[in-house]
C-alpha cells in the first residue's frame, strides 16, 4: 500500500493537478473500501472464532437484528433449532411461540440501557414448546461488525438437568408422602432433639416439643428404660451400626397404664442434611406381643406334655407305695404285735404323699402363666428345676445324663419359669433326636454351666445324630421343624426368651458328636 501511494504521488506530479485530484479521490475511496472490507473480514473471522467456541456447547448461539428480528448468524450443536438453514429467518419463528410477531418475552428492550447502549447480560431459563427442551439463555446487545447493535443470545440446553431436578423433586415428594402416611412411626433426632416426627410417631409419642429431652426416656416403661438407654447409647457413640429392640411405651404423652403399648423399635445413625442424625422407626406390636404370649404359653404346655410320661411315673411310683402299704396296713393295723410295722407304714405313707406333692408343685410352678418377672439368681436354679422335671423322661429314653454345674455362678436377672422352659425344650429336643439312634448306641447328654468374663453360659451337648447341613441356619426360625409332629415354635420361642434376657441362644460345636446348643446370659449389674 505504501508503494502504491508513492507511485500515485510520482504519477500525480507528472500528470497535472486536475487529473491527479480525481485519481487520488478514487484511489482513496478504493483504499477505504478495501480497509473496510478487511476490517469486516477480520471482525467476521473473530465472530466465527467466537462462534466456533459455541459449537462445543449443547445448545447454541445466535445473533439477531434488534429491529427486524432477522437471524444474522447462528451456530451450535443443538441441530434443528440451530441449523444454518434458519439464517435469514426471524428469531421469533424459531422460538416456537407460533406468533406472527416478536415473542412476548423478547428481551430486546432490556438489553439496552436508557442511553441506548448495551446493558448487562440478561439470564433466564425457558422451555422451548416446539421440542420441549429447556434452555439457559444468556442475552446481551453487542455491536455487529457492520456497526449496528444486535442481540446475541447463548442458549445452553439444560433439559437433562431440569429433568433430574424434576425427578428429584418428585422423588422427594413421594418420600415425604411415604413417610407421612407410613404405618411406622418415624422420627429424626439430632443432639437429643426431635427434628422430625411423622403422624404415626406423633400418635405413639405425642406431639413433642423440639426442646423435649428424649434422653430421659420418660415415655418408656420403667422396667424397659435400662435397655432402651443402653441401646440409644450404643447408637449415639457408634458402638453399633443399628439396634433393634422392643419395649413398652406410654403413648400420647400420658403416663398411665391405659396408654401403654408394646413397640418394636429400630434406631440407626444417618447423615441428614450434613449432620449426624439418629433415625428411629417404631411399630406398635401390642397384638403381636399378646399372640406371642399365648404361643409361649402353648409351647410351655407342649414341653410339659413331652415329659408327661416321666411325670406320670414320678406320681405312680409313690402311689404304688401307698397302695401296697395300705394293703399291708389292712392286714395288721389291729394287731398289737405289729405296732412297730404300722408306725413304719405311716412314715412311708407320709413320704409318698410328700413326693407326690413335690411333683405336683413342680408341674404347677412350671405351667403357671405369667409376664416376664426377672430377678437376680443363679442360672443353675432353673437348670436344676428343668432337669428334675425331665429326669424320668430322660432315663426313659435311656440317656446317660452328665451334669456339670459351676458351683458359684454370678447372678443373672432371670425369669426362672421362662429359662426353665428353654432348658426343658433343649433337653427334650436332644432326647427325641437320640430316640432314632440304633438301640445299642450310647446316648449321652451333657449339661454344663460355666462362668464367663461378663456373664454365664449353659451348654447342652448330645451324642445324637446332630444337625443336618442347612438346618443350622434355619433352626431358630418360627415354624421350622424337622419332626413330623413338631410345630416349630419351641426353639424360636426359646430364642426370643433368651433375647429378652439380653442373652443369646445359638448352635455350637459340641464334644459328644451330636448337636450342641449354647446359651449366653449377661451377669446382672450389682
Amino acid at each position: 500500500m505504501t508503494a502504491g501511494l508513492l507511485l500515485a504521488l510520482l504519477l500525480g506530479g507528472g500528470l497535472g493537478a486536475g487529473g491527479a485530484g480525481w485519481y487520488f479521490r478514487r484511489l482513496l475511496r478504493r483504499e477505504r473500501r478495501e480497509k473496510q472490507r478487511q476490517m469486516e473480514a477480520a471482525l467476521r473471522r473473530q465472530v466465527d472464532e467466537v462462534f466456533a467456541v459455541f459449537q462445543a456447547i449443547d445448545g447454541g448461539v445466535y445473533v439477531a437484528d434488534m429491529d427486524t428480528h432477522e437471524i444474522l448468524a447462528l451456530t451450535g450443536r443443538d441441530r434443528g433449532s440451530f441449523d444454518a438453514s434458519v439464517v435469514g429467518g426471524k428469531c421469533y419463528e424459531q422460538a416456537g411461540a407460533g406468533r406472527p410477531g416478536p415473542c412476548l418475552f423478547c428481551t430486546n428492550r432490556i438489553l439496552l440501557d436508557t442511553a441506548g447502549q448495551p446493558g448487562p447480560p440478561v439470564i433466564r431459563e425457558f422451555r422451548n414448546p416446539w421440542n420441549n427442551a429447556w434452555y439457559l439463555a444468556i442475552g446481551r446487545a453487542i455491536h455487529w461488525f457492520d456497526g449496528r447493535l444486535v442481540r446475541m443470545e447463548i442458549a445452553i440446553n439444560i433439559t437433562e438437568r431440569k429433568r433430574a431436578e424434576e425427578a428429584l423433586r418428585r422423588s422427594e415428594q413421594n418420600f415425604r408422602e411415604l413417610v407421612e402416611n407410613s404405618l411406622v412411626g418415624i422420627m429424626l433426632i439430632q443432639d437429643g432433639e426431635i427434628i422430625f416426627q411423622n403422624p404415626e410417631q406423633q400418635r405413639l409419642l405425642g406431639r413433642l416439643p423440639r426442646s423435649f429431652n428424649l434422653e430421659e426416656f420418660t415415655a418408656v416403661h420403667p422396667e424397659d428404660r435400662g435397655k432402651v438407654r443402653e441401646s440409644y447409647r450404643k447408637i449415639s457413640v457408634g458402638l453399633a451400626p443399628q439396634v433393634d429392640l422392643d419395649f413398652r411405651l406410654y403413648t400420647g404423652g400420658r403416663l398411665d397404664d391405659t396408654a401403654l403399648v408394646w413397640v418394636y423399635c429400630r434406631a440407626r445413625p444417618i447423615d441428614f442434611q450434613g449432620r449426624k442424625t439418629v433415625l428411629i422407626s417404631m411399630m406398635e406390636i401390642t397384638r403381636i406381643k399378646e399372640l406371642e404370649r399365648l404361643l409361649r404359653l402353648q409351647d410351655r404346655m407342649s414341653s410339659l406334655g413331652r415329659v408327661a410320661a416321666g411325670i406320670a411315673h414320678e406320681i405312680r411310683n409313690p402311689l404304688s407305695g401307698i397302695n401296697i402299704s395300705l394293703a399291708t396296713l389292712r392286714q395288721i393295723y389291729d394287731q398289737p404285735q405289729h405296732r412297730g410295722k404300722v408306725e413304719d407304714i405311716f412314715r412311708r405313707l407320709a413320704t409318698a404323699s410328700g413326693k407326690i406333692e413335690a411333683v405336683v408343685k413342680r408341674v404347677m410352678d412350671f405351667s403357671k402363666p405369667g409376664q416376664l418377672h426377672p430377678r437376680a439368681m443363679s442360672l443353675n436354679e432353673p437348670v436344676s428345676e428343668a432337669l428334675e422335671l425331665a429326669g424320668v423322661f430322660l432315663s426313659k429314653h435311656r440317656i446317660g445324663l452328665e451334669v456339670e454345674l459351676a458351683p458359684s455362678l454370678p447372678p443373672c436377672r432371670l425369669d426362672p419359669g421362662q429359662i426353665e422352659q428353654v432348658v426343658l425344650n433343649l433337653l427334650t429336643n436332644s432326647a427325641e433326636a437320640m430316640e432314632n439312634l440304633p438301640r445299642e448306641a450310647v446316648r449321652r447328654l451333657k449339661i454344663t454351666t460355666r462362668v464367663l468374663a461378663d456373664g454365664v453360659e449353659l451348654l447342652v451337648d448330645d451324642s445324637g445324630p446332630g444337625l443336618a447341613p442347612g438346618v443350622q441356619e434355619k433352626i431358630m426360625d418360627p415354624f421350622f421343624t424337622t419332626k413330623p409332629e413338631g410345630t416349630g415354635i419351641g426353639l424360636n420361642i426359646s430364642h426370643r426368651i433368651i433375647n429378652d434376657h439380653g442373652g443369646s441362644l445359638e448352635t455350637c460345636a459340641g464334644k459328644l458328636g451330636g448337636a450342641c446348643f449354647r446359651i449366653y446370659l449377661p451377669a446382672s449389674a450389682v
Partner: protein
C-alpha cells in the same frame, strides 16, 4: 381248682423264691413288708446289676422287675435272666405301656405285666395267673405244694 382265694395263693408263694428288682425305695420297701407279712420270701434289689449278682448264685421261681432302672434296663436284665434261669417266671412293672417295650417283653417271654400305680390286687392276680398256668405243665414245684 386251686387258688380260690388269697390264702391258697400265699400258701403256694410261701414255698417259692421270689425276687424283686425295683429302684424306687418306697415300692421296694412296701412290697417287701407286704410279702414278709404274708410269710413269703421276697428278695429285693435296687438295680438290675445287683439283681444279676444274685441270680448268678441263687435260683428264683418268680422274678418281678421294674422296666425303668438306673443303668441296665429291666428288659435287658430279663434277657440275661432268660439265659441263666429260663424256668423263672417273669413279671414286668412299668409306668407306661409303650408298644415297643411290650413287643420286646413278649419276645423275651415275659409272663405278666403290671402297670403302675401298682395295687396289691394287681400283684396277687398276676401271681395267681402265673401259678395257674404253671401247674398243668407239671413243672416241678418245691415239695409240699
Amino acid at each position: 381248682m386251686l387258688l380260690q382265694n388269697r390264702d391258697d395263693l400265699f400258701a403256694v408263694l410261701r414255698q417259692l423264691n421270689l425276687l424283686l428288682v425295683e429302684d424306687d425305695e418306697l415300692i421296694r420297701d412296701s412290697l417287701e413288708l407286704f410279702f414278709a407279712n404274708e410269710g413269703c420270701r421276697l428278695e429285693v434289689q435296687a438295680s438290675a446289676e445287683e439283681g444279676l449278682q444274685l441270680v448268678r448264685v441263687r435260683d428264683f421261681d418268680v422274678v418281678i422287675t421294674d422296666f425303668r432302672l438306673p443303668g441296665m434296663s429291666g428288659l435287658d436284665f430279663l434277657r440275661v435272666l432268660q439265659d441263666m434261669q429260663p424256668e423263672a417266671q417273669k413279671i414286668l412293672l412299668t409306668a407306661y405301656m409303650d408298644e415297643e417295650v411290650l413287643a420286646e417283653a413278649f419276645r423275651l417271654g415275659v409272663h405278666e405285666f403290671i402297670e403302675k400305680p401298682i395295687a396289691t390286687e394287681d400283684i396277687e392276680e398276676a401271681l395267681s395267673r402265673l401259678i395257674r398256668r404253671r401247674r398243668p405243665d407239671k413243672q416241678p414245684l418245691p415239695e409240699g405244694v
